[in-house]
């Protein structure tokens, strides 16, 4: 498939501060990319640079056949990139219908009406076409914003934290709806979020941005299973971190010894072992953990455990663990690590 968006070597300087550094990214037509990262990592700046609101200082962006270099800025209105703003940016003085028609005023009136009607129907907004934005609910406003962006048939849609203003109960439903809508248009999209669950529900592809650089891209499942770095695993909360001490091929943790092939020269103090909850199990043995907190979830009880020995170099404070069995806070338990392909990371 041909890429709809290619970003090469992109750097952005804002007020003498390097916000983005050597960003490389590509997006295939029809794909939905979730751009995640902690706040302040440059997600929104990247979106704004693609949209053309921010000028890059180095590197290039290709949107389909539009080429944008550092010296050859293309204004946003000529990029054919649609944007769904976090606050939706609906024009308060225009009705829903007028908002949707805003970008297609150059078309014939009949063509405009046809497109608006089609989108109103598709997004279940027909009843609301004469209303003004302030008379709509948050979800309705978002649908108007999407309809408005789709009306101009952009090559790429950018969504800035599209679900942050939506009621948690409706969020999943909306994500699924929106996803199928975008898919039906074969619309390529990039959306920004700091919520990993949204990525897993909504995106075909994930890109992790950390301190202005992309540290990993790939299918959500692949990234989840093989995080490329400590930051990726930590941000996605793939598992808990255990401190280790290596002796030969063996790693000692507060929960016992594990065998690991993949060792580095890095000193133990900066190495941590990633433990997914599913690789932990309760055993009958001398207790090594104490229950700090219990959360009831659909998948059973979710426990936060701490090591019993508080003063050892390997002791830990937060270990995530799921179990069907009910334990009490303060209860001392024995936890065992199930042997698997261990993943260790260098903490930076």
């Amino acid at each position: 498939m041909k890429p709809i968006l290619t970003i090469k070597n992109l750097s952005v300087l804002l007020q003498d501060k390097l916000i983005l550094q050597d960003v490389e990214l590509s997006l295939a037509e029809g794909d939905i990319l979730g751009l995640v990262g902690p706040s302040g990592c440059g997600k929104t700046t990247l979106l704004n640079t693609i949209a053309g609101f921010v000028e890059q200082s180095r590197g290039e962006i290709c949107i389909d056949d539009i080429h944008i270099g550092a010296g050859s800025h293309v204004p946003p209105e000529r990029r054919q990139v649609g944007v769904i703003f976090q606050d939706y940016a609906l024009f308060p003085h225009k009705t829903v219908g007028q908002n949707i028609a805003f970008g297609i005023q150059k078309l014939k009136k009949s063509e405009q009406d046809y497109r608006v009607a089609e989108l109103l129907k598709l997004l279940a907004l027909t009843e609301l076409s004469e209303r003004f934005p302030h008379q709509l609910s948050g979800g309705q406003q978002q649908r108007v914003a999407i309809a408005r962006a789709l009306a101009v048939r952009p090559k790429l849609l950018l969504l800035d934290e599209p679900f942050s203003n939506i009621d948690a109960r409706l969020r999943d439903e909306l994500m699924i709806e929106l996803r199928s809508l975008l898919k039906s248009f074969n619309m390529s999209a990039i959306f920004v979020t700091h919520n990993k669950d949204e990525v897993f529900t909504f995106a075909d592809k994930i890109a992790l941005l950390h301190q202005g650089s992309i540290i990993q891209t790939g299918a959500p499942k692949a990234v989840f299973e093989q995080p490329a770095s400590w930051q990726v695993a930590d941000f996605l909360q793939i598992g808990s971190w255990l401190k280790v001490k290596s002796v030969g091929n063996s790693l000692f943790t507060a929960l016992g010894e594990v065998n690991c092939e993949q060792l580095t020269d890095t000193p133990d103090s900066s190495i941590e072992l990633l433990i997914k909850p599913k690789y932990l199990k309760l055993i009958e043995a001398e207790a090594n953990c104490i229950v700090k907190h219990i959360t009831f979830t659909e998948q059973g009880y979710h426990y936060i455990l701490a090591s019993l020995d508080k003063h050892c170099a390997l002791s830990f404070e937060r270990l995530s663990f799921y179990s069907e069995q009910l334990l009490a806070v303060g209860e001392k338990v024995a936890i065992h690590i199930i042997a698997h392909q261990y993943q260790i990371f260098v903490r930076e």
Binding site: H73, P75, E77, F91
Partner: protein, 542 residues
Amino acid sequence: MTLTPKRPIWALSSWLFALALMAPVAVMIWSASSANHDTFLHLWQTVLPDYIINTLLLGGYVVLLVICFGVISAALVTRTNVYGRKMLRWLLLLPLAMPAYVIAYIYTDLFDYAGPVQRFLRDIFAWQSPQDYWFFDIRSLFGAALMIALVLFPYVYMLVRTAFECQDPQMIRAARSLGLNARQTFFKVSLPLARPAIAISASLVLMETLADFATVQYFAVNTLTTAIYDTWLEYGELSTANAIASVLLIFVLIVLVSEQRARAKQSHQVNSRQHIEHVYTLTGIEQIAASAFCWGLVVFGFLLPCGILLDMAWRYFDVEQFNTLLSSGLNSLEVSFYVASIASVLALLFVLFRRLSQVKLSALPLKISGLGYAIPGTVLAMAMLATFGPLDHVINDLAVQFGFNAPGLVLSGSAFAIVFALVTRFSAIANGTIASGVEQIPQSLDYAPASLGVGLWQTIRQVHIPLLKSSFVVAWLLVFVEAMKELPAVLVLRPFNFDTLSTHIYQMISDERLEQGAIGAILIVAFGLIPIVILNKKEKNH
């Protein structure tokens, strides 16, 4: 972020207009550099320190009074069940429509030794001479401050009331839940949060005070403004006068900087749409005192002087005046119309330039074009003559050079100079109004049209201008009214057979016969009421 990396025409016109508005002031300051040292020294050794002290005292008194009037009334109206609260809410704005020089004249008439109030007291108590009793001397520095404060306090009231009303009710509730009573909550939470609004409005009032000429002159209070006039006309030394004007300008700049700082702080203020219902119920004595305070401000700031004007107009009306009134009224309308239109359009240009352009220093045209607000009309008029006089000569020379008839003093000798001066003076009002209007538009609306393939001009035409329509109307009206009231600049600059309502009234006042000009004064007040009514209506619709 940038929408318009390169828009040379826009940038150029913004800078050009802003600098043009400021050019006369630059000419003035430049001229000050050639001031006569002897005269300046003489003034410095004799009266100038007194003038400066008077100016500072006047400013200080006015600020204290307007804060006292404005903040207390705003607090009572928003936070208590003061009697007639709903009506007071907008009645307290009305004094804005009253020019200070008119109210000064009316109250001097009323409270002077020869006035009815003191006569009445003398009759009752059988006092014979002024030595027999003490009475507040209205023709004093404090009297002038009181007059100015009575008509300018609504600025403070308006901004502080809005600040109180927009405070997040949750915050008030939080304070109450933390154990503070209603009174403590007000003093520890609401009032500190309204500080930026108080600072902004007080500095606006201060600038108006520094520019006042007619009131202080009528009250024989010598301030820097009158000193400028004196030096120019009595000593005949324009450049020394300009030097003093530059001193005044320094004061004004200090005020301006503090105002901008206050504004920067205000941006942290949350604007809550949820209004707080009154939280403090006044008891008997409190209710009486509070009501008397608020209604007193309305009565003395507006109703009483208005009534006296109406009475004067009724008693002294004659047909002959009517013609003068008609011609000066039409002149006023015409001048104010041009001033309001030009100032509002320019403000729109400056504000949008700042908002949408990322050219370096794009906020500067907006800022410098607002400086003129601080320049007293007299000073401005002098600057106009100094600038356009020579320009007129060049125009005439060129015209003759190209074989045309010399057009005469087309700039300095026509209403052009008046309009220019007033635009310079009142741009700040239009700028401020439209700038706060644009702040209501979310930044994302600037970018949305571009993402829909719509260019900048279309965006401005279809998004910004429609959304700024009401701010534009308000700005237009505010400038219109100020231009109707403005006096000193028009006095110096008006061409032949050209009187406006304000110069007409001023002549009557300086002749001590305002009775004959009462209808004119009523007209000014009536026009002044229009924006207040519209602002009030607009607010209700919200």
